[in-house]
């Protein structure tokens, strides 16, 4: 006879809702499968008390299939970490973060990168291209994803197009999926550039940072030539969304929030709505400013305060028709490039790193190098980096993530920051109940208090 217990990776909303049939339910989130679902009040009470005998057989079977309840003897943490280890050593999923330039045309106060200009070295471009092509050609590779990173990657659009042309052609010839994404400050975007990124470079995700309404954005995201970028960026994105000209590229509006702009987020949300940045292909991504090794403690918004305000912002965003990311509905396979042997960062000088927060950060720029392109043969995985033992650290309790119910959908967020003594937990750690409330509202459930 198996004894079942509530999974340590199950979250049940503290709030009750009424569904369309008048039943009282609670939202639940089984993070081992990244599944959001509702349970009736009796089931919620049984899960809360641990008295699972009160749940009937079909109910238990459903919960078991969701891994919301598990065998008492199961080592769930080992299971979750096993999944991460398997995903992180999967040679079939190759990920490259490529920095085609080390320069940025902005100089934001809170940025931890140190940018420098360097002429494009065609030999290094060829080596980078060859490295990715070797991965695509490797029989063990099932698919390749590239993140164009910087500095400001669009300063090197010519190089991106040149490399993308080779990657796309090779992936098509090998009949392997290829996708690309790009974070950008948006200042160099034009309608034509967007179409090039969409059509030629197969960009599936574009993350543009807008830090506030015009005045604030242009103060914080200051271009080195002193010219603001707010209007141009908003106009280009608004037109693209309206025209549907880049249907396969998801646009994420990232807002780096600190004490300098937290009170302007509401106004920015209205600006995004007025400019038509809504719909299924756009989402708002509010991110607290964090340390890249630099000291941002004077401007950081305290994590719990950020999380509380975020729920209000997201609720207003929804009313304004703006999209935002729901709690993850896909279990992570690896935390980041730094935890995957088959993920690497290649800078414009041909140095290979395991962590994207090393290449342009003083100190780490030199100490974080794990290889150079010249060292790496063909498609061989990069050498071990500083964070490839991350799951061992979580497993033996050197890191507190092993106790967190969000581990299956978070992975620990950023091993580098943990090691540096920061707490990089996503806001969901503090506002998961609010996020379940938002999900309930999205499903048309009504708070019981509201009748």
């Amino acid at each position: 006879m198996t004894t079942l217990v509530r999974s340590r990776y199950l979250l049940v909303s503290p709030h009750a809702y009424r569904d369309q049939d008048g039943r009282t339910v609670r939202m639940a989130y089984a993070t081992r499968q990244a599944k959001l679902f509702t349970v009736d009040e009796d089931t919620a009470a049984a899960l809360s008390s641990g008295d699972l005998a009160r749940i009937d057989e079909p109910g238990l079977a459903r919960l078991r299939s969701l891994q919301a309840v598990v065998d008492a003897g199961e080592d769930e943490l080992a299971g979750v970490l096993g999944g991460y280890r398997s995903g992180s050593t999967d040679p079939g999923a190759r990920g490259f973060t490529i920095m085609p330039t080390s320069y940025c045309n902005m100089a934001c106060d809170y940025c931890g990168q140190e940018h420098y200009k360097a002429a494009v070295d065609e030999r290094k471009v060829e080596r980078t291209t060859a490295r990715v092509l070797a991965a695509i050609a490797d029989p063990g590779t099932r698919g390749v994803s590239v993140t164009w990173f910087g500095g400001e990657p669009l300063l090197a659009l010519r190089v991106i197009r040149q490399m993308s042309h080779a990657f796309v052609a090779a992936a098509d010839a090998a009949d392997k999926p290829y996708s690309a994404r790009m974070p950008t400050n948006g200042s160099l975007l034009t309608a034509r550039t967007l179409r090039v990124l969409h059509d030629e470079c197969r960009l599936t995700a574009l993350e543009v940072t807008i830090d506030g309404p015009e005045k604030l954005h242009d103060q914080r995201r200051v271009k080195r030539n002193g010219i603001g970028s707010f209007h141009r960026t908003m106009a280009v994105l608004g037109q693209a969304v309206r025209d549907g000209s880049v249907p396969r590229t998801r646009i994420s509006i990232r807002v780096n929030v600190d004490i300098g702009n937290e009170d302007a987020v509401d106004d920015l949300l209205v600006d995004l709505a007025c400019c038509g940045l809504s719909g299924s292909s756009v989402e708002v991504n509010l991110m607290p400013v964090h340390s890249w090794g630099n000291d941002v403690s004077a401007v950081e918004v305290e994590a719990r305060r950020f999380a509380a305000r975020e729920i209000d912002w997201l609720r207003r965003a929804r009313q304004l028709g703006l999209g935002f990311a729901a709690p993850p509905t896909v279990v992570r396979r690896t935390t980041c490039r730094a935890t995957s042997a088959y993920g690497e960062i290649i800078d414009s000088a041909g140095r290979v790193y395991s962590c994207s927060e090393h290449p342009l950060v003083p100190g780490a720029r030199d100490t974080g190098v794990v290889a150079t392109l010249a060292d790496l043969a063909g498609s061989a995985p990069r050498p071990t980096g500083s964070y490839d033992d991350w799951y061992d650290q979580v497993g033996d309790s050197r890191q507190q993530c092993g106790r967190c119910p969000l581990l299956p959908v978070c992975g620990g967020a950023c091993p580098k920051l943990w090691r540096e003594g920061h707490v990089p937990c996503p806001s969901m750690r503090h506002n998961w109940a609010g996020r379940l409330d938002l999900e309930a509202e999205r499903r048309g459930l009504r708070p019981v208090e509201a009748g």
Partner: protein
């Protein structure tokens, strides 16, 4: 090639085609040719239109396409599949090349996306919410309780009423007494906005206080309840421009304040008087139908010479105040 739509004679209810959508919840019936144990080919079914709806569908197509012989593209939100099917079937029966384009979701953004890239065709958009449409497209909006086929069919009585209202309202300034004040609009001539049931005039001057207590509609994908009965919007107007906005709903207040003062959607562009006495109240869906109910709708827009940003230059806000009687 079609010579136009049939304009008279008994309605032949055309059968739905295989590529036509079926309303949700309706089952396909098994083919009589299917042998026992065999799976019958699926044949979607839709609710049949009533005789009045058949007449309305024909009249809508006659009015929108007439004898032009132009191809038809029917863009429809998911909740308007049935009406799309009717219009499609009748148009095809009349020999009009007709394309059905479902929007992926019942949102303005999804409908706008589905409207894209239809050169050389008449575009009819079956969607209830306010959407930004390409030039030349016509929206047939309904509400939760009223089908667009019922609302957009030409109706002689309504047309006559609209013509009379347009004549009556022309000439003198229009004074609108609302709950918290009074606004006076100098206007150009009123023109009937049939068949929906409005008369509309360009505003040449607007002063006073306009309290919108009925509904709000914005040509953006906002997701709020359009009704304003519990959160009226007060606009102060001077020389045709909004100078102040008040609303007890903080989200709406912030949106309107910023839309007016930052994005410059502050110009009183037109005023419409609604003529229809539809059963039920104003719709929570932020769409064009609320403007057709008895009331006054003020349209705010961005002056062409004062856009804040190219992406918000077409921002348009309709706020409706209730009226007891048509002026």
């Amino acid at each position: 090639m079609t010579a136009g739509l049939r304009t008279s004679g008994p309605a032949r209810a055309p059968g739905p085609r295989q590529d036509q959508p079926a309303p949700p919840g309706q089952l396909a019936s098994p083919s009589p040719l299917a042998s026992p144990g065999q799976l019958a080919p699926m044949r979607p079914r839709v609710a049949r239109p009533t005789p009045a709806q058949r007449a309305a569908v024909r009249a809508i197509l006659r009015e929108r396409i007439g004898a032009t012989g132009q191809a038809l593209c029917l863009v429809y939100a998911p909740n308007r599949r049935t009406e799309a099917t009717w219009l499609c079937a009748y148009a095809r029966a009349a020999g009009v090349a007709t394309q059905l384009r479902p929007a992926a979701a019942a949102t303005a953004a999804a409908v706008e996306l589905a409207c894209g890239g239809v050169p050389g065709a008449t575009v009819l958009v079956l969607a209830d919410m306010t959407v930004r449409m390409p030039a030349g497209a016509h929206q047939l909006a309904g509400t939760d309780t009223h089908s667009p086929v019922d609302l957009w069919a030409p109706a002689e009585l309504l047309e006559a009423e609209a013509l009379a209202a347009a004549r009556r309202l022309g000439g003198a300034p229009l004074t609108v007494p609302t709950g918290g004040g009074e606004a006076t609009f100098a206007t150009g001539p009123f023109t009937p906005g049939t068949p929906l049931g409005t008369v509309t005039a360009d505003v040449t001057g607007a002063d006073g206080v306009f309290v919108a207590d009925a509904a709000v509609a914005v040509n953006r994908a906002v997701a709020w309840d359009a009704r304003l009965a519990r959160r009226p919007v007060t606009l102060r107007l001077a020389a045709g421009t909004v100078t102040a906005v008040e609303c007890p709903d903080p989200v709406l207040a912030r949106f309107l304040t910023r839309a007016v003062h930052t994005h410059n959607a502050n110009r009183a562009g037109s005023v419409s008087v609604g003529l229809r006495r539809l059963p039920g109240g104003f719709s929570p869906v932020a769409g064009p139908v609320n403007a057709a109910r008895v009331g006054v709708t003020l349209r705010l827009g961005v002056p062409p010479d004062r856009p804040y940003n190219a992406a918000s230059a077409d921002l348009r806000i309709d706020v409706t105040a209730t009226l007891q009687e048509v002026p």
